[in-house]
Symmetry: C2
Subunit: 439 residues, 2 copies
């Protein structure tokens, strides 16, 4: 392996040459995130609130992350897999220390980041931190220019941090193409397993040829492909639409250790109805998306909590095959059907309604949804109702406006997994199993 | 008074002449709806579902209205003022009877409308029905052409109906200008008090010069100014925006017996979060809007119910002065402030956030909101928290994304009502009390 040490005076062209030369040979092999990561991330809900004088319970401070860690630890979240407690922007001091290292804001994080990491580790949780490939973070705090990548990676490792979200404000495409792979390398070189979340593709439009998903899978554990989520159904829907419209490009990029990230869950906040919350959870599970909640776990409603703590949906999201699901049908009625193949000859189906009038009675059969001949056990993941359906049985699902019906479909008896996804009854949408390249 | 009797063969020009000649002289004086009507209306939630075979609990049938009446009667709604049980489109047979009268679909309403009316009256409730000024209703059922106005009005009266919503599909502006006043007259002529809801202005863009609000106040008890509401926050917000953007035209039109109708409450359905539900209720109360819920009272959540049954908001909506409130501030931050003057020297304030990020801490004072010098008792209508504020006291309200904080502001002691609305501290927005012409 090559080892880079950059000083701020080093010539840029040299960096680019060195980076391009090693990029394809280098593969991320940190063993992390074999299933999509789960946890909590500060940004969507708490943004850059640094006013600890007037808003002490909500400002970005060690108290906020300790509060959320306590909730994850005491309220049943950790056991379900929600283990990351992730800091986002606005955590640092406005200045690096005398040795050029990032440092936490001394008033808001008097114990420093390392103390926070130990607090997490003592409880079986993990700490994530935020940096930015560029001169400044999006919030205007010190960024990580190329010459600072090594020292910042080492700082995060010294602090015993478990994950880095590396944003891309205040850098251009050339700097990003250089910096994102270098940070991957630098994190690896520390010897500490640090999961690596890259905002890079989101800054380059999220699609080839500007974005190289093969490379991303080699250097990042997850990556933000698209814009930031907001606390509104319009935002959730526009994100889901973009990911499923581009599923032919995106789904093959995902797999154990490398995930598309449609951004945080806003379930438990202010903008989604219960049905819309169930929809976000279902669609994120179909997408094999990271499940980072951004909400206030101290005051979350029991309704939102029960959606986020739904064991069957979590197990679908966390399926070890790690195959990102797809939209397989778009009906004129506004009903859409999503499907994800799972281990143990199983699969997940989501019936989603774009309508805004009333529950829609959607009639179909499993064979119309590309399932092969046979009987299937279907479990409604939100109601726990179980049915056995023949492939030819016409059934009706009543789908609420902006809501979902989600099924875990298992194939008892002699049905084989490959029969389901390679069945010869593929009608309206041809599913090419080879696009998921680990099949 | 002139009395018209129309046959279908009568010449159109004669009708127009007669109508125009009497229009301005005729004033609605049925004594009804001195405060905005409250109740339940089938359309938004149940639409034109006539499939009683497959969907017996939700189809438009007498059972649905009996179910809702039972809920209004037994679950505390009636005592709060929700007394109307209103049928919308798709209730009738596809054909008139041999005498040319409308008749209910015999399978779905085997007891007929009169039986339903008596069911309501036995419980202290009222029954509303739906007709359409035009050849057909919007759903394709028999409409009320000009020659049928008299007979249909008499039919509704014979059935002991208490309210008519008169839609405007399949008619042109000339026919509407003729038909809406004639129906008002025909209803009055039956001798039965029948409240009259006119969809007319919604079909003519809702604004002068096409719409004459002076005339509407003389012939209708309420009128739909704008498009149909859907079960989404986007729809609720676009409606509220239209009404407040046009408040200088609309607010003066409202008063006891004559109300602008921004359409149904969709609280308790599928598309609104709890914060958005609180916002619809608050803004509809500020607007002195009719409160027709369109939801399933058999399965409504306790959260939605508590919003709809909030006594203080209902009393604000039902304030006897009947003054429609206004938006008094639009801040760059996305915060908007609404205000409605109330009886007993009181007023209502709503702080609303258009933001989709996190709760916003809005700092202001009552004097900045045009209140005159003095002390005020403010009651948060959703939390019941009470404070006493001086006009000059700077305070902070934390407003959730797409949510509201709503206050009932009463002015104890020597403050007079006219001082509040005519105070000389009007700064950012001049409120012209004369526009509410009953002051």
């Amino acid at each position: 392996r090559l080892f880079f040490f950059f000083t701020s005076g080093m010539h840029f062209a040299v960096l680019i040459f060195a980076s391009v030369a090693t990029m394809t040979a280098f593969a991320l092999d940190n063993g992390l995130m074999r299933t999509p990561p789960m946890g909590w991330l500060a940004w969507e809900r708490f943004r850059c609130d640094i006013d600890c004088t007037n808003d002490p319970k909500n400002c970005i401070s060690e108290n906020l992350f300790i509060d959320m860690a306590d909730r994850l630890y005491e309220d049943g979240w950790k056991e379900l897999g929600y283990v990351y407690v992730n800091i986002d922007d606005c955590w640092s001091s406005m200045d690096r220390d005398k040795d050029g290292r990032l440092q936490a804001d001394p008033k808001r994080f008097p114990g420093g980041i390392n103390k926070l990491a130990r607090y997490m580790h003592d409880r079986g949780l993990k700490l994530g931190i935020y940096g930015d490939m560029g001169t400044h973070t999006c919030g205007g705090y010190p960024g990580t220019t190329v010459d600072k990548i090594e020292i910042d990676a080492q700082t995060f490792a010294d602090w015993e941090v478990d994950m880095l979200k590396f944003d891309g404000c205040y850098s251009n495409a050339v700097e990003q193409e250089l910096g994102y792979p270098l940070m991957s390398k630098a994190l690896n070189a520390t010897g500490r397993p640090i999961a690596y979340s890259c905002s890079w593709p989101a800054y380059q439009g999220g699609l080839p040829p500007k974005v190289n998903y093969t490379q991303l899978g080699q250097i990042c554990n997850l990556w933000r492909n698209y814009g930031d989520i907001q606390d509104s159904w319009g935002s959730v829907l526009s994100i889901a639409d973009w990911f499923f419209e581009n599923q032919d490009v995106l789904a093959p990029a995902a797999g154990p250790g490398r995930w598309n990230d449609p951004d945080m869950l806003v379930i438990g906040d202010f903008g989604l109805s219960m049905d819309q919350s169930r929809s976000q959870m279902a669609l994120w599970a179909i997408m094999a998306a990271p499940l980072f909640m951004s909400n206030d776990l101290r005051t979350i409603s029991s309704g939102a909590r029960s959606i986020l703590q739904n064991k069957m949906i979590i197990s679908i999201n966390q399926d070890p095959l790690g195959i990102q699901g797809r939209r397989i049908l778009k009906e004129k009625s506004g009903i859409e059907v999503f499907w994800r193949p799972l281990s143990n000859n199983a699969s997940a189906l989501v019936f989603f309604s774009r309508r805004t009038d009333m529950p829609y009675r959607y009639e179909t059969s499993l064979s119309k949804l590309n399932y092969t001949t046979g009987s299937y056990k279907v479990t409604d993941v939100y109601t726990d109702q179980i049915d056995v359906l023949k492939d030819s049985t016409e059934f009706v699902v009543s789908v609420n406006p902006t809501g979902v019906v989600m099924w875990y479909v298992s194939a008892p008896g002699k049905l084989q997994y490959h029969q389901i996804i390679r069945g010869d009854k593929l009608r309206r949408h041809k599913y090419d199993a080879k696009q998921n390249n680990f099949l």
